[in-house]
C-alpha cells in the first residue's frame, strides 16, 4: 500500500500526485498542513522527513521525501513498460536526470516566487523571478526545437517521462509568482500536451485542457 503525505497547494506534492495518477496507482493520502498549521515542522513529520520537506511517500520498507526521488522510485517500481523512467537507456537516463535537476532549479526560482507572493515567504523576489525567466527561456528553446524535430516531450523519446511530470507543476503555476509565460509560446504548448497525458489530474491553480481534435 502506498501512502502519500501531501499538501494540496504544494507544487512538489503535485509532482507525486501526477506520477501516481498517470501510473494508475492507488494510494492513501495523509494531509500535512503546511500552512497555516506548519505541520511539516512537527516532530512526527521531521522523523519521516528530516529536512521537513513535503511530499513523503511510503511503500512497504521504503520511505522517500524528495519529489524527484519519489518519481524515480514510482516509475522504476510500478511502470512495467519502463517508459516513464527509461533507466536502462544511458542517454535517456541522463536526460531525465538533467531535467529532474532543472525542475529543482524551477522550484528554487518560480516556486519560491510563488510562495513569496501567496504565503509571504521571504525571498529575493526580483532575483527569483529573473532566474525563473532564464530557465523558461532555456526551456522554451529546447521545446521549440523539439517541435521541429517532432519531439513533444523534454527527453528524446516519443513518450512523456517523469522529467515532464517534474518540470510541469512549477511551470504551470509560475504566474502565481508573477512570472508570466506570455514570452514562452513553446512552453505554453507543452503545458497543454502534459495536460492531455492519459490519467492527468489537475490541482488548484491549474485548469485541465480542453478536448483534443477528433
Amino acid at each position: 500500500m502506498i501512502t502519500l503525505y501531501d499538501y494540496e497547494l504544494s507544487a512538489d506534492c503535485y509532482q507525486a500526485r501526477l506520477a501516481l495518477a498517470v501510473l494508475g496507482l492507488e494510494y492513501s493520502r495523509v494531509d500535512v498542513e503546511f500552512y497555516p498549521g506548519r505541520e511539516h515542522e512537527t516532530e512526527w513529520f521531521t522523523e519521516l522527513s528530516p529536512l521537513q520537506q513535503l511530499p513523503v511517500l511510503c511503500e512497504e520498507e521504503t520511505t522517500l521525501y524528495d519529489a524527484p526521488a519519489i518519481l524515480v522510485y514510482l516509475a522504476s517500481r510500478h511502470d512495467p513498460t519502463a517508459s516513464w523512467y527509461p533507466g536502462g537507456d544511458p542517454a535517456l537516463a541522463g536526460q531525465v536526470t538533467l531535467w529532474l535537476g532543472f525542475s529543482r532549479a524551477l522550484a528554487g526560482s518560480a516556486g519560491a516566487a510563488r510562495l513569496h507572493e501567496s504565503l509571504g515567504h521571504l525571498t529575493d523576489i526580483d532575483a527569483a523571478r529573473s532566474r525563473a525567466h532564464t530557465l523558461l527561456r532555456v526551456l522554451d528553446e529546447h521545446l521549440w526545437f523539439g517541435e521541429q524535430e517532432g519531439r513533444d516531450w523534454l527527453c528524446a523519446t516519443d513518450r512523456p517521462t517523469i522529467a515532464d511530470l517534474a518540470a510541469f507543476p512549477d511551470v504551470a503555476l509560475s504566474e502565481e509568482g508573477g512570472v508570466s509565460r506570455i514570452d514562452y509560446p513553446a512552453v505554453r504548448r507543452w503545458t497543454d500536451r502534459v495536460k492531455r497525458i492519459d490519467g492527468f489530474v489537475a490541482m488548484s491553480g491549474i485548469f485541465p485542457a480542453g478536448p483534443v481534435a477528433a
Binding site: 517541435e147 506570455i182 504548448r189 485542457a209
Partner: protein, 579 residues
C-alpha cells in the same frame, strides 16, 4: 507610450506554427494582449485577450475547435466573429447576438500571422519575397524597445553570406548574393518588449516534416547573441506598462438584459455557394458571405430568406456554431408551395445573391440537461440537426429521433452519419404507429431531461400530447412549428396601450397588433408573421389576450404574460403591452 506607434499598421504577432489547433496562443502588440487561436477549419482568430463579461483572459480559455469557452463562466464565443453563442448561467436564453468580443483583422502569410489593431485599416503588410516556401525562424523575445532591436539587427551576422539589402519600417532584408535570403521583422510587443521574427527565403525543404534544423539553430544562436548584446547594453528595464484604453460597450450591453428575447431586423447579403439534393424533395443550400463573416447562428436559429419573387420565408440553420462560415439550409419542396420552396428549388441557382436576415434564435437549446431528446419529423430535422451536432461536439448526452417516410427522405444523411449512434431512424410509420413510437421514446420522464420537437403540426401535437401523458412538465417540452395551420380570427377590434412608448393605438378588424403598432411609429421585429416563429413576442402587462399562435406552450398561454403581436388579439377591450 513613446516611440512604439509605428506608421505601419499591420504587424506579425505569431508564427503560423505557433497557432496549433486546440490551443490558444497568448500574443501582444503595441501594449495590447491578444488571444490567437486556430479553429479546426484552419481559420486563425486574433481577438482581444479578454472576455467581455468579467475581463478574464481568453488565452486561458478552452479552444474546442469551433468556439472558445471562457474558463470563468463557460461563455462560448464563435470562430471568426467572436459572437457569444451560449451563456451557461441562463441556459434557456439565446444570448443577444450583439455580445461580441473584440476581433482584429487577420492575414496568414509568409509563415506568419499578421494583424492590425486599427479598424478598417487596409492591408499594408510589407511585401516579402515569396518563393512559396517561407521558413519562419524561432521567434526571439527581447526585453528592449523595437527601435533599439532594429538598430542592433543591422549588423546581424549568422556566419552565412548575408548582407543587409533593404530596410523598411521595423523590417530588414538580407540577401545572399542577389537572391533574397532572410527578412527580419520586429514586432513591437509593448514599450519595452519586442519579438524578432525571421523568415528565410529560398530554402530547399526536402521533407516538409523535417525542417533544416542546422539552419534554424544557426540563426537561433545568432539572434540569441543579438538579444544578449541589446539586453546587456540596456540593462534591466522598468516594465512600466501602461494599460491600453479599453473600448466601452454599447449602452444596450451595459444594462442587465430583459427577460424577453431581442429581435433584429438588419439584412445580410449572401451568395449561394452550393446547391445540392440533400434528400428526397429537399434541396440543400450553403450560403456564403459576400464579404467579411456571417453572424454566428446558435443551434435552433433561423434566418428569413428574401426570395427573388418577393416572398420571405424562414429556414432553420442546419450547421452548428463555429462550423464553417456558412449558413446551411434545407428546403423541402412543398406541393402547395405559394412561391417559397418552389422558387428556391426551381429558380435559385449557385452563384445567385440573396438577402437574408441575421439569424434569430427563438428555439434555443439548453445545455444544462442530463439527457436531451430531439424528435424530428421530415424536414423538421433541420434545427434539430444543428442541436444534435452541438450536443455531440460538447459531449452532452442526447438522442436524435428522426421520423421519415423512407431512408431517401432523410435529409442531410452525411451529417447524420457523423452523429453515429445517437441517431434513431423511424421510417414509414403511419399515424397510429408514429404515436405508439412516440410513446416509447417519451416514456420514462426524469428530471434533468429536456425534449425538443420539430416537424409537421399534427406530429408535434401528438408528441406534446404523449409527453404530457408520460409526465413531462410543459417547460421541459420545447417545440417549433413550421407554420401556423390554424385559422386566424382577425375580426375583433380593441385598444392596445404601449406602456413604455406612452401611446394608445386602436387595432381595427382585419388589422394585426403588429401592423397597428408599426403604424404608430413603434419599431417591432417580426419574421414569419403567422404566429409560429416567436420573433414579434411582446410582454403583456394588463388585459386578457387571445393567443392564436403555435409558439407559446399551454402554460405560457394560460399565464397571459406574452403574446405574438402578429396573430394574437384581445378578449378584454384594452391590452397593455410592455412596448
Amino acid at each position: 507610450m513613446t516611440s512604439i506607434q509605428p506608421g505601419r499598421a499591420w504587424h506579425p504577432v505569431a508564427s503560423s506554427g505557433d497557432a496549433v489547433v486546440r490551443h490558444v496562443f497568448q500574443g501582444r502588440l503595441l501594449g495590447r494582449e491578444l488571444a490567437v487561436w486556430r479553429a479546426d477549419d484552419g481559420y486563425v482568430n486574433v481577438w482581444e485577450n479578454r472576455c467581455l463579461h468579467r475581463g478574464v483572459r481568453l488565452s486561458i480559455a478552452v479552444n474546442d475547435g469551433r468556439e472558445l469557452k471562457c474558463q470563468y463562466h463557460g461563455w462560448r464565443y464563435s470562430n471568426r466573429t467572436a459572437e457569444c453563442t451560449y451563456i451557461p448561467a441562463h441556459p434557456a436564453d439565446a444570448p443577444a447576438r450583439t455580445i461580441c468580443n473584440r476581433t482584429f483583422a487577420v492575414v496568414e502569410r509568409h509563415g506568419l500571422v499578421w494583424t492590425t489593431l486599427e479598424l478598417d485599416r487596409p492591408e499594408d503588410l510589407p511585401v516579402l519575397p515569396d518563393d512559396g516556401r517561407p521558413l519562419a525562424l524561432r521567434p526571439i523575445t527581447v526585453a528592449a524597445p523595437a527601435a533599439q532591436v532594429v538598430d542592433a539587427l543591422r549588423s546581424y551576422d549568422a556566419g552565412e553570406d548575408l548582407r543587409l539589402a533593404a530596410e523598411a519600417e521595423l523590417l530588414l532584408r538580407f540577401d545572399r548574393g542577389t537572391a533574397p535570403g532572410l527578412t527580419i521583422l520586429v514586432q513591437p510587443s509593448d514599450a519595452t518588449t519586442s519579438v524578432v521574427r525571421g523568415v528565410l527565403h529560398g530554402v530547399a525543404v526536402v521533407d516538409r516534416d523535417r525542417p533544416p534544423l542546422d539552419l534554424l539553430r544557426l540563426h537561433n544562436r545568432a539572434l540569441n547573441r543579438v538579444r544578449a548584446r541589446v539586453e546587456s547594453d540596456l540593462g534591466p528595464l522598468q516594465a512600466e506598462q501602461q494599460e491600453p484604453e479599453l473600448e466601452l460597450l454599447s449602452e444596450e450591453l451595459a444594462e442587465l438584459p430583459p427577460l424577453s428575447r431581442p429581435g433584429r431586423s438588419a439584412s445580410l447579403r449572401v451568395r449561394v455557394e452550393r446547391k445540392w439534393p440533400a434528400g428526397a424533395d429537399v434541396a440543400g443550400f450553403a450560403l456564403a458571405p459576400l464579404a467579411g463573416h456571417l453572424p454566428a447562428a446558435q443551434p435552433g436559429a433561423h434566418v428569413d430568406v428574401h426570395l427573388p419573387n418577393g416572398c420571405v420565408r424562414q429556414y432553420s440553420v442546419v450547421n452548428a456554431p463555429g462550423e464553417g462560415d456558412r449558413y446551411v439550409l434545407g428546403v423541402k419542396r412543398e406541393p402547395d408551395s405559394q412561391g417559397g420552396s418552389s422558387c428556391l428549388h426551381d429558380v435559385v441557382r449557385e452563384g445567385d445573391v440573396l438577402a437574408v436576415s441575421e439569424p434569430r434564435n427563438n428555439f434555443p437549446l439548453r445545455r444544462d440537461a442530463e439527457h436531451t431528446l430531439l424528435v424530428a419529423g421530415g424536414i423538421g430535422a433541420t434545427p434539430l440537426l444543428a442541436m444534435a451536432q452541438t450536443l455531440a461536439h460538447h459531449g452532452l448526452d442526447h438522442e436524435l429521433h428522426y421520423f421519415a417516410q423512407t431512408e431517401d427522405h432523410l435529409a442531410f444523411r452525411d451529417r447524420l452519419a457523423t452523429l453515429g449512434g445517437s441517431v434513431r431512424r423511424h421510417l414509414g410509420l403511419d399515424v397510429a404507429a408514429t404515436k405508439a413510437r412516440l410513446g416509447e421514446i417519451l416514456a420514462g420522464y426524469a428530471p434533468g431531461r429536456q425534449v425538443y420537437l420539430c416537424g409537421p403540426g399534427p406530429m408535434i401535437e401528438a408528441a406534446r400530447e404523449v409527453a404530457a401523458q408520460c409526465g413531462w412538465p410543459v417547460e421541459k417540452v420545447h417545440f417549433e412549428y413550421f407554420k401556423n395551420a390554424q385559422e386566424i380570427d382577425k375580426e375583433s377590434s380593441f385598444e392596445v396601450a404601449l406602456a413604455r412608448s406612452c401611446l394608445t393605438v386602436k387595432v381595427l378588424a382585419g388589422q394585426t397588433i403588429l401592423e397597428a403598432v408599426r403604424e404608430a411609429g413603434v419599431a417591432m421585429p417580426s419574421s414569419c408573421e403567422q404566429g409560429a416563429c416567436g420573433t414579434c413576442l411582446a410582454r403583456v402587462i394588463e388585459g386578457e389576450p387571445i393567443h392564436q399562435d403555435v409558439y407559446l406552450n399551454d402554460a405560457e398561454k394560460a399565464s397571459g404574460e406574452a403574446i405574438m403581436t402578429c396573430v394574437s388579439r384581445s378578449a378584454s377591450p384594452r391590452l397593455v403591452l410592455d412596448l
